[in-house]
């Protein structure tokens, strides 16, 4: 049984984790940097430890500091949230060596799935459809160019160790391949410390659909339905919803079943997400597994009534899932809008500052996950996510109406602060979004 959880994260997700812990009767320790000294989770948590200065590499990515913080406060588990150390198999392994329960998948599973080339192979063996691409990594530019020609252009070059939308290049013709390959390899080496790449066909028009799975340590796995996350800007999601609108059951059901098959085949334990691309003909292709809680997990919680953080903690404590696939009863529609401190008119550049005015929407079926408060100073060290506005309604038209109403209620203002609220508000009225015809390039098209 887990008694005290150290939360190795910040912002809205740290607070969201602390809330579930409180409901479960589990004590919390907030690990925070000097830049987050006055943050909401530090005030909310039972205890706190200042682990380092503002820059992440010296605080939230500083493994010895995080482990030591857990030890001096007597925590028996660490929840990594998303980002930071959440998908770091070395960190999970160190936790295990220090007798700390890492709330996430086992380190070896994380290591295999974190390598996108290995993950592709595992999922191919489990019978999941993949886009045509290189077998394993394509480590030589010449050989990779041959593979690209076999696959057929356009292709996308991706970092094997990549994630978060970074380390990818789309190439439209053979002439541009070599340059893109070398550029991507340099980026991957710089950002992920791993220059290995793989190549696969690029779908110019596709929807990004992902499946939430839960698996316990006793061989039981279920899916909690599909989320559409097609509305992205530079591979960063802005709006997510569940169920995936306009996808018929004959597509969604096999896709979800494939995710469960992949979960079991990879030995996955915990909450995870299988990402797929769905082409205009309704064919779906496995992309990658996210070995952590997703930013957009609340939409799944809203339709299933499950608390995913609580499920993660129970699974990490070794408890069996208390329900089966047949018990999962997803109802209605839920949509999430990410309110980022970014300026859409300046190419979504971060626009941090101090929130002199901050008021979140409320009312029926509206959930807001945020760490911000009036007077909150948005640190420039971290990502720009300020709040997640989530609504639920019995159907999509009513969910859209509710989200419009909720965004109209939101106030987040201050000197220098610009948020994505207005941009999202406009998107909610866009005919293609209303008609659920969106794909991963809709926003790029709207912006150009």
């Amino acid at each position: 049984m887990i008694k005290k959880v150290l939360i190795a994260n910040r912002g809205e997700i740290a607070l969201r984790i602390a809330r579930s812990c409180r409901e479960l009767g589990i004590a919390t320790v907030a690990a925070y940097s000097t830049a987050d000294r006055d943050s909401a989770v530090v005030a909310f948590a039972d205890e706190s430890v200042q682990i380092g200065p503002g820059p992440s590499r010296e605080s939230y990515l500083n493994m010895p500091a995080v482990i030591e913080a857990a030890r001096i406060r007597g925590a028996d588990a660490i929840h990594p949230g998303y980002g930071f150390l959440s998908e770091n198999p070395d960190f999970a392994e160190i936790c295990a060596a220090e007798d700390l329960t890492f709330i996430g998948p086992p380190p070896d599973v994380m290591a295999r799935l974190g390598d996108k080339a290995v993950a592709r192979r595992i999922m191919a063996e489990a019978g999941l459809p993949l886009l045509p691409g290189s077998r394993g990594t394509a480590d030589q530019p010449e050989a990779a160019a041959v593979t690209a020609a076999e696959i057929g252009y356009p292709v996308i070059i991706k970092a094997a160790a990549g994630g978060g939308g970074r380390g990818m290049s789309v190439v439209h013709d053979p002439d541009g391949f070599d340059r893109a390959y070398r550029h991507t390899r340099a980026t991957a080496q710089a950002v992920f410390g791993d220059g290995r790449l793989y190549v696969e066909r690029y779908l110019a028009s596709a929807r990004h659909v992902e499946v939430q799975v839960l698996a316990d340590a006793h061989g039981t796995a279920v899916h909690l339905g599909a989320r559409d996350c097609s509305l992205q800007r530079r591979h960063q999601k802005l709006v997510e919803e569940t169920p995936a609108p306009g996808l018929p059951p004959e597509i969604v059901e096999p896709l979800c079943a494939a995710a469960v098959r992949g979960t079991l085949a990879s030995g996955y334990v915990g909450a995870g997400t299988f990402e797929f691309l769905v082409d205009p003909q309704g064919r779906y292709y496995f992309m990658e597994v996210n070995c952590r809680l997703q930013v957009e997990h609340p939409v799944t919680e809203m339709v299933t009534g499950l608390d995913l953080v609580a499920e993660q903690i129970r699974i990490a404590a070794g408890e069996p899932l208390g329900f089966t696939q047949a018990d999962v009863d997803a109802r209605g529609v839920s949509i999430e809008c990410r309110i980022n401190a970014e300026n859409p008119r300046r190419d979504f550049a971060p626009a941090p500052g101090t929130l002199t005015d901050f008021a979140v929407p409320a009312g029926p079926f509206v959930r807001v996950d945020t760490h911000a408060t009036p007077g909150y100073r948005i640190p420039a060290y971290y990502d720009s996510l300020l709040a997640k506005v989530v609504v639920w309604a019995p159907d999509r038209p009513r969910a859209l109406a509710r989200m419009r109403r909720a965004l109209d209620e939101l106030r987040a203002e201050g000197p220098g602060v610009v948020t994505t609220t207005e941009f999202l508000r406009g998107l909610l009225d866009h005919p293609r979004f209303v008609a659920a015809e969106h794909d991963t390039v809709l926003i790029e098209n709207l912006m150009s």
Partner: protein
């Protein structure tokens, strides 16, 4: 990083890139605009000065007593503020340091190897002034402060540079690295922090006399928590 003298001088040094001495015109510091308050990890001289001025202004504004002297520098990065006290002497508990855990005041490492990391939190680190800083000073430190109650004696805080367990001595039963009253030279080891089974030496970043060891032996500490204070002698020419 906060330095408080016996007579209520509060100083905020912060590490900075090497830079020429800078003009100081802090008699009427203006608040920096929001969003440029040092959270950004910038280290340009102009920004350094802006932050220092803001820090001086914040510190001055928060004091219950009028500020009698403010010095802003950039070469060695310091903000010094003197408050007059009614009787012209040190207020009660002139040496005022609370553990970071208690008041979450920032105590960024002074002279740390990574200026950009330690620097940005400096402005937030200033206490509101001696009026709010007093009660945590122990009797011992007050006594020490009284003995050294000259303008030139500054209490310099040695903070923890990492989370871990602080030890006074190299091993159980051994003599401590330092005791209150000992004189230390810059770079001298004054303790150990154990983190992940690594023994990380704690060194005095400046020379001086150990005023007080603030954390008991074998006690867990947070990043930035004050471990001990040094009385640092500053030559006259250096501080004016």
């Amino acid at each position: 990083m906060t330095i408080t003298t016996a007579n209520g001088t509060s100083t905020t040094p912060a590490p900075a890139p090497t830079s020429p001495t800078a003009p100081a015109s802090p008699t009427a510091p203006r608040p920096a605009p929001a969003g440029q308050d040092g959270e950004h990890g910038q280290s340009g001289l102009g920004e350094v000065l802006a932050v220092l001025r803001l820090a001086a202004q914040e510190a001055g504004a928060g004091g219950a007593r009028p500020v009698s002297r403010v010095r802003v520098s950039a070469g060695d990065l310091a903000v010094e503020i003197d408050w007059t006290t009614p009787d012209g002497s040190a207020g009660p508990g002139g040496s005022a340091h609370a553990p970071a855990a208690a008041d979450r005041r920032d105590v960024s490492p002074h002279g740390a190897a990574r200026p950009s990391a330690a620097f940005p939190s400096a402005p937030a680190s200033l206490p509101a002034g001696p009026g709010t800083a007093g009660p945590t000073g122990s009797a011992g430190s007050a006594g020490s402060a009284a003995q050294n109650g000259s303008d030139d004696a500054l209490a310099f805080v040695v903070p923890a540079h990492t989370v871990g367990v602080f030890y006074h001595a190299p091993e159980p039963g051994a003599d401590p690295f330092v005791r209150a009253g000992d004189t230390v030279v810059p770079g001298q080891q004054v303790g150990i922090i154990e983190a992940m089974k690594l023994m990380i030496p704690v060194e005095a970043e400046r020379g001086g006399r150990v005023r007080e060891i603030l954390v008991a032996d074998a006690t867990p500490v947070e990043y930035g928590q004050p471990l001990l204070t040094l009385d640092v002698d500053v030559p006259h020419g250096d501080s004016r």
